[in-house]
Amino acid sequence: MATHLTQAAAVAACWSCGQPASQHFCEACGKIQPVQNIDYFSTLGLPRKLHIDMATLEREFYRLSRKLHPDLFARATVREQEWSTEKTSQLNDAYRTLKDWIARTAYLLELEGVKLEEQSRNATDTARQSGAEKKQVVPPDLLEEVFELNMQLEEMRMNKQMGEDDPGIARDLQNAKEKFEQKMNDLTTELQSYWDQWDALIPPGENEPKDQQSRIRVRDQMVDLLNRRSYIRNLVRDVNEALA
């Protein structure tokens, strides 16, 4: 787990002077330290909380960039240059992920052991191998609406192929799109309410939730909401394509 690594890192000795070194630099001699396999939250010195103040995040990103960037190591040894490049790439990757709330939530869920990306990729690969269209599980409460929407989409595509124009269908699709967009917003609000719950599970001064049962419960609810949201997002994208 990342905490062990972070703790281990905290007591690691500096390669240059042997004094205890912290994550990025040696306290004693100031030399850059080797890359550690740490998560994005730790890279930016943050607990695993989902509410992040954007101004603080940016400030910390700039502050660390001013210390770690390869431009500052152009005259250092090759080894230090490599560490600087790797550390900066880690910092950049971390900042890019954490500043986008969807990427941040998905990343946290992956850290918590959910294989979101792998699931999606496996589904894609399987679909490609079998030649079938990638199947996504339709959330049960949306079944009826999705069925109707797909019919309309199909009709719209047929019309397009025939060169016909049915303003009625376009209007229906537009309405459906607005409805789904509203749902997406609702889901976003709901998802963010779980952020509050998640963040509340992390005791002050700690990096991760203590209560394992709640930890898994909140995590799974977020996975469900995120999947539903991305399902609806794809629907909206399809409608936009059909309307374009």
Binding site: Y62, D71, A74, R75, T85, Q90
Partner: protein, 635 residues
């Protein structure tokens, strides 16, 4: 030890420049002929010596087969990519270049790869800087179009190595320009840099914050620029000539070059005048004249400059910004001098763009600033830091030829991604990975960067090996790949086959060859220069004999001069430049008093109010002492 000076180089399609930081401000280093711009043209002179810049441009017009220009268009590209260019540019590509190979271009009776040609331009800039400083230069920052892909960047880096330069950083041209502007402006806010050069177009959107230059998005077209306008005008002129003068010049390289020069002059004139004339003498005593009004010109180029609009809009969308949120716009590149381009940018971003810094020089100036930052900086650059992005998404070819993106475009660099691979067959020990760059869905529509072969995987049942591959894009925008088999912990061996790049061995070989040539070239040049000097002083002496001053020399002095004259006549034919030089020096010394006497009489004549020309002062030996070119020897 004092840190070695690092120069900033703008290696352009049409012109190249070298600059450095003088105190707190960047300055361009002029070339020997005093101009800041070195045309990116390489030629072979009568003595089969490489010449670069203005001299090469003269060769280009008189002997087009002995010169190469706009080679930047060929950097990092393969024969399949350049079919369109070949219709428009008289590149003489070697016939036996196969798809997937690095191009070779014919120059005289030798063949060179694009990085080698670029290296000759770089070598000239290096020489200019060395002459300027009087000390060797071995480190440089070189700019590249922001939209250059990995192969084009690698080719530029190779060119630097071949030229004997350690390339400390490749900087994107628009970003460099923003550094030059940022140095004296010191303002926070959102800035757009619109860079339309000779052959490439870039748009970059940056956020400036307390000295940090953070690129938010970049876009562009690496084959869009002033060259396209020239080609358009050229095509029209050729049509005119074929129609009206019944002259087909399509195969006449010399006439085409003359015509190209004429249309470029007209294009430039149209930026300041309401109309201009193309006027050029053609073979068979014919002459082509045509007046073009600015209005006609603007209509003609509209489709070309409109091609810059979509990249600008995409960059804005990627940065999640509206045009009204852009606080400042900066114009870079010679083509932004065209009033219509200026107007287009103004309309696009709804504000008057900045043009305070010379659009031809601003990129080189920015490169000098970045070079200064890398060498440790000073108070002027203390807080300055460039955070650039990768212009294109990086992906790997997955099942069915589709691209799985692993690093998205506009990610801040350095950036990395880790992917896991496994085997599909029992006992499989190799896994091939195809890496591409681009935004399209299918690998075949993207730019193929390299094929990696992961070798030495321990034989295991299918799907069991877990190979972790790390892709890292460094601060130059260049990809590095490393791999590890996780179950055995074995570092997997990677064999990289760059799709259109040079291998390390090839680059090493070229460095060696370039040294061989450089030595031979240098020796030849020294002989040629010494002979020229000998001719000059002999000619001057001939004139001096007819000067009244000659009569005022003693018998002894005249005999001495005559002896040394004969010695120089003999030495002149030698292949040892030192021998020629010392004979020149000897004669020079002997004629010193003659020169003084001639000077005196010239001054006296002038005081008498007579015509200076009749004294023939300029032909006297005093004029035969050109400032000796600096010789830098490296040991």
């Amino acid at each position: 030890m004092k840190d070695e000076r690092i120069v900033g180089i703008d290696l352009g399609t049409t012109n190249s420049l070298v600059a450095y930081m003088e105190g707190d401000s960047p300055v361009v280093i002029p070339s020997e002929d005093g101009s800041n711009l070195v045309p990116s043209v390489v030629g072979l002179d009568q003595n089969n010596q490489f010449v670069v810049g203005n001299t090469a441009r003269t060769i280009l017009i008189e002997h087009p087969e002995r010169a190469v220009y706009s080679v930047k268009r060929l950097m990092g590209r393969g024969i399949d990519d350049i079919q369109e260019e070949l219709k428009l540019f008289p590149f003489r590509v070697s016939e036996d270049v196969k798809p997937g190979e690095v191009l070779r271009i014919k120059l005289g009776d030798r063949e060179f790869t694009p990085p080698e040609i670029s290296a000759l331009v770089l070598r000239q800039l290096k020489k200019n800087a060395e002459r300027f400083f009087g000390s060797p230069i071995t480190k440089a920052v070189i700019t590249v179009p922001a939209y250059f892909n990995d192969a084009q960047r690698q080719a530029t880096k190779d060119a630097g190595r071949i030229a004997g330069l350690e390339v400390l950083r490749l900087v994107n041209e628009p970003t460099a320009a923003s550094l030059a502007y940022g140095l004296d402006k010191r303002r926070d806010g959102i800035v757009a840099v619109y860079d339309l050069g000779g052959g490439t177009f870039d748009i970059s959107i940056l956020k400036l914050h307390e000295g940090i230059f953070e690129v938010l998005a970049t876009n562009g077209d690496t084959h869009l620029g002033g060259d396209d306008i020239d080609n358009l005008l050229l095509a029209i002129a050729l049509d005119d000539i074929a129609g009206d003068l019944k002259l087909d010049l399509r195969r006449n390289a010399e006439a085409i070059q003359a015509l190209r020069k004429a249309v470029i002059d007209t294009k430039i004139a149209l930026s300041s005048k309401p109309e201009a004339q193309i006027d050029v003498d053609l073979p068979q005593g014919k002459r082509y004249q045509r007046t073009i009004t600015r209005q006609q010109f603007e209509q003609l180029i509209e489709p070309i400059i409109q091609r810059t609009v979509a990249p600008c809009k995409q960059a804005l969308a990627d940065a999640k910004l509206q045009p009204s949120q852009i606080e400042e716009v900066v114009l870079v590149g010679g083509s932004t001098r065209i009033p219509k381009v200026h107007a287009l940018v103004k309309e696009l971003f709804q504000r008057e763009p900045h043009t305070e810094l010379n659009p031809d020089e601003v990129v080189a100036l920015g490169a000098a600033v970045q070079a200064h930052i890398l060498s440790g900086g000073s108070a002027a650059t203390k807080d300055m830091l460039l955070l650039d992005v990768t212009p294109l998404s990086l992906g790997i070819e997955a099942l069915g030829g589709v691209v799985a993106k692993i690093i998205q475009r506009n990610s801040t660099i350095p950036a990395s991604a880790t992917e896991h691979f496994t085997t599909g067959v029992e006992g499989q020990t190799n896994v091939a990975i195809h890496v591409v760059q681009g935004e399209r869905e299918l690998a075949k529509d993207c730019r193929s960067l390299a094929r990696f072969d992961l070798k030495g995987i321990p034989p295991m049942p299918a799907g069991l090996p877990r190979i972790e591959v790390k892709f890292l894009i460094d601060a130059n925008g260049i990809l590095h790949v490393s791999a590890k088999e996780q179950r055995s912990g074995k570092e997997a061996e990677i064999e990289v086959k760059p799709t259109y790049g040079l291998t390390d061995d090839q680059v090493e070989q070229m460095i060696l060859e370039s040294f061989d040539y450089a030595e031979e070239d240098f020796r030849q040049r020294q002989i040629v220069e010494a002979r020229n000097e000998a001719e000059n002083i002999l000619l001057a002496l001939e004139k001096g004999r007819h000067n009244p001053a000659w009569q005022r020399l003693t018998e002894q002095e005249r005999r001495e001069i005559a002896e040394r004259e004969i010695a120089l006549q003999q030495a002149k034919g030698s292949d040892e430049y030192k021998q020629i030089r010392s004979a020149v020096d000897a004669l020079n010394e002997a004629t010193m008093r003659l020169a003084e006497l001639m000077m005196d009489s010239a001054v006296t004549t002038a005081l008498k109010g007579q015509n200076m020309d009749s004294t023939d002062l300029q032909g006297g030996p005093t004029a035969s002492h050109p400032i000796a070119p600096a010789e830098i020897t490296q040991d």
